[in-house]
């Protein structure tokens, strides 16, 4: 295990610099204080009951010394932290905009090129990206540890952050602001692609990358989609109700809708529920699910249904 996640953005090295300097200063003071503490506690331990101790009540030069030195150090640290922060908060002019919307408990990304992805952010190596951020319901916080960036998303107002991804790879996106039951399941991935790979992704249809996925059996593809597109944040596979109904035994189930009519969870009902979730609400659930129109293809939905069928 490494001390700190891989530095995969232009900002990461700079933040690490601040962390390192403070760490070194902290270690110095910590060692100094604890060494003195232990040394004094051992050296001056009480040996006899009637030991004489000197009447020392203070020392002005010493006290000025240990007021002034930490003060100077602290102000320098403030300046260092501020300088890096300023850069972190000032996106370059040539950055591309990607809009991210946080919703309990999904990330939706809208790209400058008209694409739309869910929970997976695709970025091109060495091109600065500015994230324009907004929340649909409650506070969320967009956090990519490998990039050392974090910013809360607010309903009713845009916030922003920026970074230039420098290393090809896949990194975690966490929601860092508590947002309810599915908070810890509000995970995403940021995929940094080489310029060539990015071009291919940009031209491709749908969001899944390549033939390897297409060749999966439908139920396995469905399971992959279930995990990657955030279905798992609200729908369990063990029968427990998190936010929405569990996928376990869902296929073929019958029941009553909000308007009193009955439904049978056949292929068509499930497809409608994924594309227009609010249209036919089952009694007892909140209308909170986003539409997956344009995010899941018909093949994807078929795969998800195939996966559901395996969950008896």
């Amino acid at each position: 295990m490494t001390w700190i996640p891989e530095a995969a953005s232009n900002l990461a090295g700079k933040v690490d610099g601040v962390l390192l300097v403070i760490t070194l200063i902290s270690i110095f003071f910590f060692v100094l204080i604890s060494a003195l503490l232990i040394y004094f506690a051992v050296k001056y331990r009480r040996r006899r009951e009637d030991e004489e101790t000197p009447y020392i009540t203070g020392s002005e030069p010493l006290e000025i010394l240990w007021t002034v030195i930490p003060s100077i150090l602290l102000i320098l640290l403030f300046v260092y932290g501020f300088v890096v922060y300023k850069e972190m908060r000032t996106p370059p002019k040539d950055s591309v905009d990607i809009t991210v919307t946080g919703k309990q408990w999904l990330w939706t990304f809208d790209y400058y090129n008209g694409k739309k992805t869910l929970n997976e952010l695709y970025v091109r190596q060495n091109i600065p990206v500015r994230m324009i951020m907004r929340a649909d319901d409650v506070l969320h916080s967009f956090f990519i540890p490998a990039f050392r960036v974090k910013q809360d998303l607010l309903p009713g107002r845009y916030t922003q952050l920026w970074f230039t991804p420098t290393k090809i790879g896949t990194y975690d996106i966490f929601c860092a602001e508590y947002c309810g039951t599915g908070h810890s399941a509000m995970l995403g991935k940021v995929v940094v692609l080489s310029p060539e790979a990015y071009d291919i992704w940009e031209k491709g249809i749908g969001v899944d990358d390549g033939a390897a996925v297409a060749s999966l059996p439908p139920a396995e593809l469905g399971e992959k989609i279930y995990k990657e597109k955030g279905c798992n944040a609200c729908h369990s596979i063990d029968g427990s109700i998190v936010i929405g109904p569990s996928f376990k035994g869902l296929y073929g189930r019958t029941g009553v809708l909000e308007d009193g009519s009955s439904y049978t969870a056949d292929e068509n009902y499930i497809m409608r529920s994924i594309l227009e979730p609010q249209e036919e609400m089952v009694q007892g659930f909140q209308p909170v699910m986003p539409s997956f129109k344009g995010i899941l293809s018909e093949d994807d939905i078929t795969a998800v249904i195939a996966y559901m069928k395996t969950l008896k």
Partner: protein, 537 residues
């Protein structure tokens, strides 16, 4: 030092009167202190048990012990109970009540009936809180909007409970300020006051003037849920970040309400067991006031990533660094007090030294969070959790345990088993570090806080943290049993077992009903240990 009080064998101890009503209707500050002590200890144990449950759930990445919703309820309860029911009233109300009149040479606080009323209000708050447990909130102890305004759980009751508790805190602070101003014994000038009194004074100012702001904030949250008021609701033109501004205007000073009394305790324990005058008395005394004042000016350092303006973030970061200075001064002064002392490693002293050690880590990691760039990465991760617990457990709780062991003989007139106390200290110290030190690394690696489930890459450190919590829990259990056992079967405590010069040790243990047979005449400060040379500082 004052030696006017004659310790006679025949006296009426404040503990002598028996019966429920003699406690429930008491206006004796020492008894009210005990009532608070029992209440806060109970909440400490309950909230601590909840913490153990949470750590048990976090042993593995999946949510296999409790559901995510239950986990969220657990950390909300743990936070709210620990913060509002244990640590905010904590040392200030229990030891503050017991010690302030004794230390300044007064028979009681200025308003004894108001003091009792404060405790009743505290009880009322706890009763409301118990009802809130029926449908517990899942908002976290910070009640951030808009989640707290929209969640299905019952947020109104728990916030109402905290609101009511606030009044207890305000009235206690008010009482202490007036007491310290008006009830000092003759000769007890400001610069002869024990440092615990300075600390209590600074704390009381914070209690008095910061608490009403959280009161109105929670009231507005209640109005938001019940009347549809929209100050924090973006859909109605409100601003969720405004809630955070208001909330932290109280809750940052509240951090100092929690820690300053512990600093006061440490400043009392160290000179006694070093047999040395406290080093830099005035610097420690004024730094308490300094910390209290600056603490009103740093609240937004909890909000650097929340969407506040960059200008505000910069100003608040700068002010945050300022608050580190008086804190550093205190630590250096404590260390210097040890120099050339005659140090006895009594269990209370071990807690005090443990405090310095852990609080230094807590303070230094605070510097990371004050620095803007570093905070962006570390905010809302386990680094915050670790830092906060190093300050709150490593600081306040260590101070609280230290105070318990130090003043135990005075308060209850009994002795506890010192060897067992040292063993418990060792377990607590080790267990605490094993629990929380790994969390700094988890935070740096990006593990967010308040996660019911977590990615597998964090498992080894998370499990280590859970194992540590078991050691910590065992240590606290042993300590509790040891102290309780002492109450029933402990030896009778002498009047002044450590040879302290402070006023409270010059009366019998436990102190008589109105503390002093005759109001003492103070002629010197209470830190006059050691051999004076020709030149007096």
């Amino acid at each position: 030092m004052a030696n006017h009080t004659i310790a006679t064998n025949v006296y009426v101890s404040f503990l002598d009167k028996k019966g429920f009503l003699s406690w429930f209707l008491t206006t004796d500050h020492k008894r009210i202190g005990i009532l608070y002590l029992i209440s806060i200890s109970l909440f400490f144990l309950i909230a601590g048990t909840i913490a153990l449950l949470m750590r048990f759930e976090l042993l593995t990445p999946a949510s296999d012990f409790v559901s995510p919703h239950t986990y969220n309820v657990l950390f909300t309860l743990h936070g709210s109970l620990m913060v509002f029911f244990f640590i905010v009233p904590g040392l200030a109300a229990s030891f503050g009540n017991f010690l302030i009149p004794l230390m300044i040479g007064a028979p009681d606080v200025s308003f004894p009936k108001l003091n009792l009323a404060s405790y009743w209000i505290y009880l009322l708050g706890t009763i409301i809180m118990l009802f809130a447990l029926l449908q517990p909130a899942d908002t976290g102890w910070t009640f951030y909007t808009p989640y707290s305004a929209n969640t299905d759980a019952d947020v109104i009751l728990i916030t109402l409970g905290v609101f009511v508790l606030g009044f207890s805190s305000i009235l206690t602070g008010l009482n202490f300020i007036v007491t310290i101003h008006k009830m000092r014994a003759p000769g007890m000038t400001w610069h002869r006051l024990p440092l615990f009194i300075w600390a209590s004074y600074a704390t009381a100012i914070l209690q008095l003037l910061a608490t009403p702001v959280v009161g109105i904030t929670l009231l507005l949250l209640i109005a938001e849920r019940s009347l549809g008021v929209g100050f924090f609701d973006p859909a109605k033109g409100g601003d969720p970040v405004l809630f955070q501004n208001f909330f932290w205007f109280y809750s940052h000073p509240a951090v100092y309400i929690m820690i300053i009394p512990a600093m006061g305790v440490i400043s009392e324990i160290i000179p006694v067991f070093s047999r040395k005058p406290i080093f830099g008395y005035k610097a420690i005394a004024y730094s308490s006031l300094g910390i209290a004042f600056i603490s009103f000016l740093v609240w937004a350092h909890h909000m650097f990533t929340s969407g506040i303006s960059e200008v505000a973030a910069t100003i608040f970061s700068f002010l945050t660094f300022l608050v580190a200075i008086p804190t550093a001064i205190k630590v250096f002064n404590w260390i210097a007090t040890l120099y050339k002392g005659s140090i006895e490693l009594h269990s209370a002293m071990l807690y005090a030294l443990g405090f310095i050690f852990l609080f230094t880590i807590g303070g230094l990691t605070g510097v990371f969070l004050g620095a803007l760039a570093a905070d962006i990465h570390l905010h809302d991760t386990y680094f915050i959790v670790a830092h906060m617990h190093y300050v709150m457990i490593g600081g306040t709780v260590m101070g609280f345990f230290g105070a318990l062991h130090f003043w135990y003989p005075k308060w209850f007139g009994k002795m506890f088993n010192e060897s067992v106390a040292k063993l418990a200290w060792f377990l607590i110290f080790v267990g605490f570090n094993v629990t929380f030190f790994p969390q700094f690394f988890l935070g740096v690696q990006g593990m967010p806080r308040r996660y019911a489930t977590y990615p597998e890459e964090f498992q080894s450190l998370m499990s280590l943290s859970t194992y540590g919590s078991w050691i910590l829990g065992l240590g606290i259990l042993i300590m509790t049993v040891n102290l309780l056992k002492g109450l029933f079967s402990g030896e009778k405590a002498p009047q002044n077992p450590y040879g302290s010069l402070s006023l409270e040790w010059q009366v019998p243990s436990p102190p008589p009903l109105e503390n002093f047979e005759e109001i003492p005449h103070v002629t010197d400060w209470s830190y006059g240990y050691g051999k004076k040379k020709e030149v007096d500082a």
